[in-house]
Structures are given as structure tokens and as C-alpha cells.
């Protein structure tokens, strides 16, 4: 492969340091004092975990940092990750009443980070788990959904063990979030905290391979499935076996190890797809030293699933967007040398359907590239879940009761990307917490409520 020249350690550091800087104490208090302390604040409603935002912010202003951390953690078990990774523009900060006043919304994410940085530094004791209730939960997957379920489960008195196939826990918090948003260490800090509450984690254990479903059912009263979407969707593209063809999530995981000089990137990189993961793959390629990065998307700009602020970031990184462009095949001898594409046009679908892209005949062109990263979505995949009775899976989503997160098999609960098709960390954090409460209500029906 035509590998882009390696950068100096200094350059890597500059490219991948977090682009949102922390507040110092003075700045945090100033920002906290700007908060109106709305009643029933809209930001709280907009946060999927419903953190009592104006309350934790007021506590920053009064210097009650312990109380601030408690307010946050009572609603969300991975708040540092959320503070850094949440798309706040469309969540809490997007709902801030200051937007209606044509003033800058309160920097909720940064304030949340301020409190959590303090908390993980000082490590005051905040919570005491309920006394053991005699039941156990087996959690599959240590992403935010699994971690939240486990932490909440321990608080409710359960004996909880997480099984994680990776050697390093944390799911995509550890292996997915762009390093310029958040380092791996932050995710691991949260994992460590949750362990300190009494959660056991067995890493390097893949359910369905190292341990069977039967063994799990034997060992635990209930099981929480938080496996995310472990498998990259495939588009059959001739030439996909060439050296230099990567799946976005796998490639990003390599970058997340934070040993940047060991990750080869092509001089010219084409990314297929235009969701948030595709943008991450593009911006991370640029930061690794790629000279030209293209995003190839078969639909128009209006239809991209990436957030506008992510798109803007990629534009700042000089990523070039090819709208209405469909990849046809990858060419090269042994390794990638070109991506052949064709132009598309939108044609009216049958009544009521959105317009469909259709190839323009004779529009084929060849884009010389050294690397192709496929980012067309993730799948639940075909694995051990097929061995679980009565589990209903449709469209790569496990079906659950939206209140209790119980699946059609009453012993199984699920949450996170594996039930919603891939949303955000904060949704997974909510699901996991609610599922543990659902499990408690299911196993102890009289004491619940």
C-alpha cells in the first residue's frame, strides 16, 4: 500500500488532543452562574438520561461539587463519556432556553465534565449498594449499556458479572469515540469506578464461544444483553479482498489504541458512507496524515445521516464530499489502487416514497486511492443470540418492552445499540439503568414501585 508518511509524535499529539478544553474552576463557576436555573428545565427533558441539569449546575456555582456529582451519577453511570461524546447540540444544549433568547446556550457538556473530572480525581464515596438480594445478573458486553445495567444492578443488591469478549472493557466508549473527543483513559476511568461499586468484569470471554448460553443461564437469574452491533455491514464490492480495504469500526479501534505511528493510513483514502462513523473515519484519517480524504455517498447532502456539526468538522479537515456517487468496484494489484464509482441521480419513487438514487449510465469514473474504508453501518450479526429461545429480532434490533427493557424471553433483558439499531452512548446508558430497574421489578414484584 502507498502509505502516507508518518508524522512526528508532536504532530499526532496535536491532531488527536481533545478539541474541547476543560473549564478551570473560575470559568466553570462563571458559566454555572449564567444558568437561569429554569424550573422543569427543557435541557433535562432533552437529555435521554434526564440528568437534573440545572440542579447539578447550581451545585457547581455554590461549590457543592460532591452534590453535583451525585446529581449527575444518580441519573447516568457514564457521565464523563457523555460529557465529552454526546451530540449536545441536538440534545441538552440544543434545548437550552438561551437559544430562544438568541444567546449562547449554557455549556452543559463542559460543566458536566468539570464535575466529573473533579469527582474521578477526588473519588469521594457517594453511593452504598443495597444489601445483597440473593439474585444475580449476567451482563453480556461492557459497553455503556452493560456498564449502566451492572452499576444500577449492584445498587439494587444484585450480584453482577459482566462478560466481555474484548481484553479491554468499555465497548465503543473505549474503542469507538474519536480520540479528539475523548481518550481511552476516560472510558477506563469510568469502568474502574463501576468496578469499585462491586461489579465483576470477565474480559476476554465471548459468549457463544468461550461460554455457552446454557452456562450463562445456569449461573444467573437474569441476563442482560448489551452486545451493541458487533458486525460491520457488508456491501458486496468487487475487490474488497484487496489489501487496504477496511471496515470503519475496526479501523477506528486501531486508532483508539492511541499508538498512532503504528496505524498505516493511505496517502489517498476513500470512505464509503456518510454517517457519523464515516465522518470519524475521515477526520481520523486526515489526522493520521492522509493527504486526501474523500467521502463517497450515493445520496445527496440533505440525506446524510451525520450531524451537521460533524459534517462541518470534516469540512474544516478538508475532507472532500462526493454526493450522489456510488462505488462500483475496487481495483488494484494486491492492494488498493483505485475506487471506481458512478454518478447517481434522484428519481421519483412510487407514490409516497422518497426519491431513489439511480445510476446515470456512462458516468463511471475512477478515483485513484490507496485505501478504502467501508462505513455503511453495523449489524447485530448471526451469533449466540439465535440460541436464545423466543428472542425476537427484527431488522438487527432485539425487541424489548420500552418500559422494562425485557425481551420476549422473560429471563432476558436488553439495551443499547442492539435494541435501537445504533444511537448514542447516552441512550445506551439510559437503557442499561432502566433495564436493571426492570429486572428488579420483575424479580421482586412486591417491593418494586
Amino acid at each position: 500500500m502507498n502509505v502516507a508518511p508518518k508524522l512526528s509524535e508532536k504532530e499526532y499529539k496535536k491532531n488527536f488532543t481533545e478539541h474541547v478544553t476543560p473549564f478551570n474552576r473560575d470559568a466553570a463557576v462563571a458559566e454555572a452562574n449564567r444558568c437561569l436555573y429554569c424550573y422543569d428545565s427543557p435541557c433535562m427533558d432533552a437529555c435521554p438520561t434526564h440528568i437534573d441539569i440545572s440542579e447539578f449546575i447550581r451545585k457547581i456555582a455554590t461549590g457543592n461539587m460532591k452534590g453535583s456529582a451525585k446529581t449527575i451519577l444518580s441519573a447516568n453511570w457514564v457521565p464523563l463519556t457523555c460529557a465529552k461524546a454526546c451530540p449536545v447540540e441536538v440534545l441538552c444544549e440544543g434545548a437550552c432556553v438561551f437559544n430562544d433568547k438568541q444567546e449562547k446556550p449554557i455549556e452543559i457538556g463542559r460543566l458536566q465534565r468539570h464535575t466529573m473530572d473533579w469527582f474521578y480525581q477526588e473519588k469521594p464515596s457517594l453511593f452504598t449498594p443495597a444489601s445483597p438480594n440473593g439474585k444475580s445478573i449476567g451482563v453480556i458486553g461492557s459497553g455503556p449499556a452493560g456498564l449502566a445495567c451492572a452499576a444500577e444492578g449492584v445498587m439494587l443488591g444484585f450480584d453482577v458479572t459482566i462478560y466481555e469478549s474484548n481484553d479491554t472493557p468499555g465497548g465503543l466508549d473505549t474503542w469507538g469515540i474519536a480520540p479528539y473527543k475523548m481518550s481511552q483513559a476516560d472510558s477506563l476511568t469510568e469502568v474502574e469506578y463501576i468496578k469499585s461499586l462491586g461489579v465483576k468484569i470477565q474480559t476476554g470471554v465471548t459468549i457463544g464461544k468461550d461460554k455457552t448460553i446454557a452456562q450463562l443461564e445456569e449461573a444467573h437469574d437474569t441476563i442482560f444483553i448489551g452486545v451493541g452491533l458487533p458486525q460491520g455491514k457488508n456491501i458486496s464490492l468487487p475487490g474488497s479482498d484487496l489489501k487496504g480495504v477496511e471496515n470503519a469500526v475496526d479501523y477506528i479501534a486501531k486508532v483508539k489504541a492511541e499508538k498512532y505511528s503504528q496505524v498505516d493510513v493511505g496517502r489517498k483514502v476513500a470512505i464509503i458512507g456518510c454517517g457519523n462513523t464515516a465522518i470519524d473515519a475521515a477526520t481520523e484519517s486526515v489526522r493520521l496524515g492522509a493527504e486526501e480524504v474523500y467521502i463517497i455517498y450515493r445520496r445527496g447532502k440533505e440525506e446524510m445521516t451525520a450531524y451537521w456539526f460533524e459534517y462541518e468538522l470534516a469540512q474544516k479537515d478538508n475532507v472532500r464530499f462526493f454526493w450522489l456517487t456510488n462505488p462500483v468496484r475496487i481495483e488494484g494489484e494486491g492492494h488498493v489502487q483505485a475506487l471506481v464509482c458512478e454518478k447517481m441521480e434522484l428519481v421519483a419513487g412510487s407514490a409516497g416514497e422518497r426519491k431513489k438514487p439511480q445510476a446515470v449510465s456512462g458516468s463511471e469514473f475512477s478515483l485513484p486511492v490507496d485505501m478504502v474504508i467501508k462505513s455503511v453501518g453495523q449489524d447485530l450479526g448471526d451469533h449466540f443470540l439465535s440460541g436464545v429461545e423466543k428472542l425476537e429480532i427484527a431488522n438487527s434490533r432485539i425487541k424489548v418492552n420500552p418500559e422494562t427493557f425485557q425481551t420476549d424471553n422473560p429471563k432476558y433483558f436488553a439495551g443499547g445499540d442492539c435494541i435501537n439499531g445504533g444511537k448514542e452512548v447516552v441512550n445506551a446508558a439510559y437503557d442499561g439503568k432502566k433495564a436493571a430497574q426492570g429486572i428488579h421489578a420483575f424479580l421482586f414484584p412486591t417491593t418494586a414501585e
Binding site: 463557576v29 436555573y37 429554569c38 424550573y39 422543569d40 427543557p42 427533558d45 456555582a61 432556553v97
Partner: protein, 439 residues
């Protein structure tokens, strides 16, 4: 162009802005610099008996991220030699003949000492003398400062010693640490003072340090009451200024102060009767440069209002000062929320619900999860709390509503009208005629 010059009890200055007797007017260097920056006058930092200051001497009252909404101090009068001060005062006056230089004095309560000090002060060529009867700490224990200001008889006696020998105007500076400001003000009048300065600082403890439990300001582990000044004291100072201005027995020019930070504050003091305003804390916080905006802002306001000289508006709001018994009990206003500018923070809702009269509901907004506050006008008592907490300028207004029956009545009139002693039943029956129902 408008004319900003004033005459306060015979002391003339090119504009009404004077440095108050305090650290900013401690030396010739400072006063000259202030005049160069545009101040119209300065009351020299009080000079007099020998003193020694302590560290720390100031405490700041911060609120919600705003520094020094109030400032307290346990500072004494000038700790520089009496003679050195007089020399610098003379030099300053020579350099700035058209600016007002007033010398603040605080001497031991003996006639000869005062007379000697006054004569030597007049020799500097200064424009006036201010008698400091206000300092609430350190000096009062020695029978000076507020120990004088709090006893009208002392106030009258010492002022008389001074006015008997003085050939220049004498202002008497009062302490607010009294239950009624009028007796000392009237005492000054009886003793032929030319004007009243007020207020000096208010007794206060700024706070307690939650780590060390020390009282702030912390003087080597000990704390004491100190004098409070700055923006937070303005309402108290405005009230006292208005009282002195409205009292027919006092009837003296006023130099007003206490929390003046900008031209708006200054205009308020002047509307309530002050013919000059003095500033200390705001200068200690930001420096002399604040006078630029003070002069410009006041001049622009005067132009907009059609006032050509300060005299045209000094005291203009004094006739509006009334008693509760003068108020019309039948005027009714209710809160109106402008839906278009409302940002749905619901601060008005919770304020009315928990802190007032439970008359704001929250209604659903189309295509939004937010709830919008709406006033139930029939229940609103017109207290104004909601509009005060509203963060959007002009969003909540108090609008007058017609009564089912026209009329107006004051409390004394009502007392005369209803059988005495008044019963709740009779009062309710009267209110009902006008559609007033209190739940």
C-alpha cells in the same frame, strides 16, 4: 450642550461627580489624577488624630459571580501626617482652582482642637469642610465618627464649634447607623451647617470563612464589624437621601452617596435631592476612568429629557415621596406574559407557585414538549414578583385592569368609612363591591 456644573451648599464644581472621602482621595497624586480624568470634585480622605491601620482591612461581598456587590472595611481615617495632608491639599487646590476640594475632618471632641484644625484647613485654600461623623469602627470607640453622628446633641455641638469659626462652607457627613436619619440631620441644620453628606458606611460583617471559621476580613484571626458600602447599599442610601430632602426642617443641600457606580445611580440620587454625588467603592474597583461614562451618560440623558442644567432636575422626584397611607388601594394590575418572547424557563411559574399566590398555570405548546406559563388573571394579586424574576426584558408586564366599579380610596379614608374597630367581614364586603377577592 447641557451644563453639568453644580453648586452644593456654596461649593461649586464643573460636574456633580466627587470622590468620596476614602482611599481614592488619600493623596495629591490621586486627587490630581482624578481631576485630570474628569472628576469635578474630591472630598479628601479624612484627616485628623493619629491612627494606625490593620491588615486585612477590606472584605468583598460577591454574588453569583459578580465581584464586590458590597465592600466592607475596618479602615480608619488617613494614616498620613496631618501637616503633610494639608500641604498636599494646598498644592492640589493651586493646580486645580476650578475643581472642588473639600477636606474631611475628624478630630478629638475638644473645642480648641477643632477650632485650630478648621483654621489651618481653611489656610490651604480649599473650598469646603466635611465633618466626618460616620466612621463606624475604630474611631467611634475613641468618641469620634459615628459616636458623634449617633447622638444629635454631640452632632450639633461640634458642628457649631466649626461653623462659628469657618469662613467656608461646612458639610456634615452622617452615619446611616441610626434608627432615624432626621434627628442628626436637623441637629446639623440647627448648628448652621451648609449641607448634608450621606451616607457613610453601614455596620456589617461580610462573612465567615467556612474552612478556617475566621470572620472576614480576618485580622490575624480576629474579626469585627466594619463599614459596608458599594452597590448593595444604594437602596438604603437613596431612602435616607430622600428623607433628608423631603424634610422641611432640614432643608439643606445634599451631597449623596452610597453605591453610586454609574450615571444612572447618580441621576437617581439627584432626582431624590442630591446636588452632588460622591463615589468610593466603584472607584476602588475600577479606577477613576469610570467618570468618563458618568459625565457622558448624564449629559445624554439630560439632553433627551430636555434639562439644560442640573438644577432643573435635582430633587425632581422628591414631591412623589409619599406614605403608605397616601396609596390608592383600589388600583389593580395583573401580570401579562408575552408568549412570543417567553422562553419557557418557567421561573415565573415556580416563583408565583411557591413564593406568591399560585396564579400561573403551565400550558402545553403545540409541537413542543415545553410548557408555557400563563397567568390566571382573575387570581393574580398584582404583586409583580413574576416580572421581577423573568430573565427576558419586557416579556412580563404589569397592566392595569378596569374594576367592576370605578373608585379610589386610601387606608385612612377606608378607616373613616368602615365601622371601627374594623372587622374582616366588613373589609371583605367593601372589597367585593370593587371585585377584589383574596383567596
Amino acid at each position: 450642550m447641557v451644563d453639568l456644573s453644580i453648586n452644593c451648599g456654596g461649593i461649586k464644581s464643573p460636574n456633580p461627580f466627587w470622590l468620596a472621602s476614602a482611599p481614592p482621595s488619600n493623596s495629591a497624586y490621586q486627587v490630581c489624577k482624578a481631576f485630570e480624568d474628569g472628576w469635578g470634585g474630591a472630598v479628601w480622605k479624612t484627616i485628623g488624630a493619629p491612627v494606625m491601620n490593620v491588615c486585612n482591612r477590606y472584605g468583598g461581598m460577591d454574588y453569583a459571580g459578580t465581584k464586590i456587590v458590597g465592600l466592607n472595611n475596618v479602615e480608619l481615617i488617613s494614616d498620613r501626617d496631618f501637616d503633610l495632608n494639608l500641604k498636599e491639599i494646598a498644592e492640589t487646590k493651586k493646580r486645580f482652582p476650578n475643581h472642588a476640594v473639600i477636606v474631611s475632618l475628624m478630630m478629638e471632641s475638644q473645642k480648641e482642637i477643632w477650632e485650630d484644625a478648621v483654621k489651618r484647613t481653611i489656610d490651604t485654600g480649599c473650598d469646603g469642610i466635611e465633618l466626618n461623623y460616620g466612621c463606624p469602627h475604630g474611631m467611634s470607640e475613641r468618641g469620634m465618627g459615628s459616636a458623634v453622628g449617633q447622638v444629635p446633641e454631640y452632632c450639633e455641638m461640634i458642628t457649631e464649634w466649626v461653623t462659628n469659626v469657618s469662613t467656608i462652607p461646612v458639610l456634615v457627613k452622617l452615619t446611616p447607623n441610626v434608627t432615624d436619619i432626621l434627628p442628626p440631620a436637623r441637629a446639623a441644620k440647627r448648628a448652621n451647617a451648609h449641607g448634608i453628606s450621606l451616607i457613610n458606611t453601614i455596620n456589617s460583617i461580610i462573612g465567615v470563612d467556612l474552612d478556617s471559621l475566621a470572620i472576614r476580613p480576618d485580622v490575624a484571626g480576629k474579626g469585627s464589624h466594619g463599614g459596608y458600602a458599594g452597590p448593595a447599599v444604594k437602596p438604603i442610601a437613596l431612602h435616607m437621601t430622600s428623607q433628608v430632602a423631603a424634610d422641611p426642617q432640614v432643608n439643606l443641600p445634599i451631597s449623596g452617596m452610597g453605591g453610586v457606580s454609574n450615571w444612572r445611580d447618580a441621576v437617581e440620587f439627584m432626582l431624590l435631592g442630591a446636588s452632588s454625588v460622591q463615589v468610593c467603592t466603584a472607584v476602588m474597583h475600577y479606577g477613576f476612568r469610570i467618570v468618563e461614562d458618568m459625565k457622558e451618560g448624564m449629559a445624554t440623558w439630560m439632553q433627551e429629557k430636555g434639562f439644560k442644567t442640573c438644577d432643573e432636575f435635582i430633587g425632581k422626584s422628591v414631591p412623589r415621596i409619599a406614605q403608605f397611607g397616601d396609596f390608592d388601594l383600589l388600583k389593580k394590575t395583573v401580570a401579562k406574559i408575552d408568549e412570543d418572547t417567553c422562553i419557557n424557563c418557567n421561573l415565573c411559574y415556580i416563583a408565583c407557585e411557591d413564593g406568591a399566590h399560585q396564579c400561573i398555570d403551565r400550558v402545553e405548546i403545540k409541537e413542543s414538549t415545553k410548557l408555557q406559563p400563563r397567568v390566571r388573571e382573575e387570581d393574580c394579586v398584582g404583586c409583580d414578583l413574576c416580572s421581577l424574576v423573568c430573565p427576558v426584558e419586557g416579556c412580563i408586564s404589569m397592566v392595569e385592569v378596569p374594576r367592576i366599579k370605578e373608585g379610589s380610596i386610601t387606608w385612612p379614608e377606608l378607616v373613616a368609612k368602615l365601622p371601627q374597630p374594623m372587622t374582616w367581614e366588613d373589609l371583605r364586603a367593601y372589597q367585593k363591591q370593587y371585585g377584589i377577592e383574596i383567596h
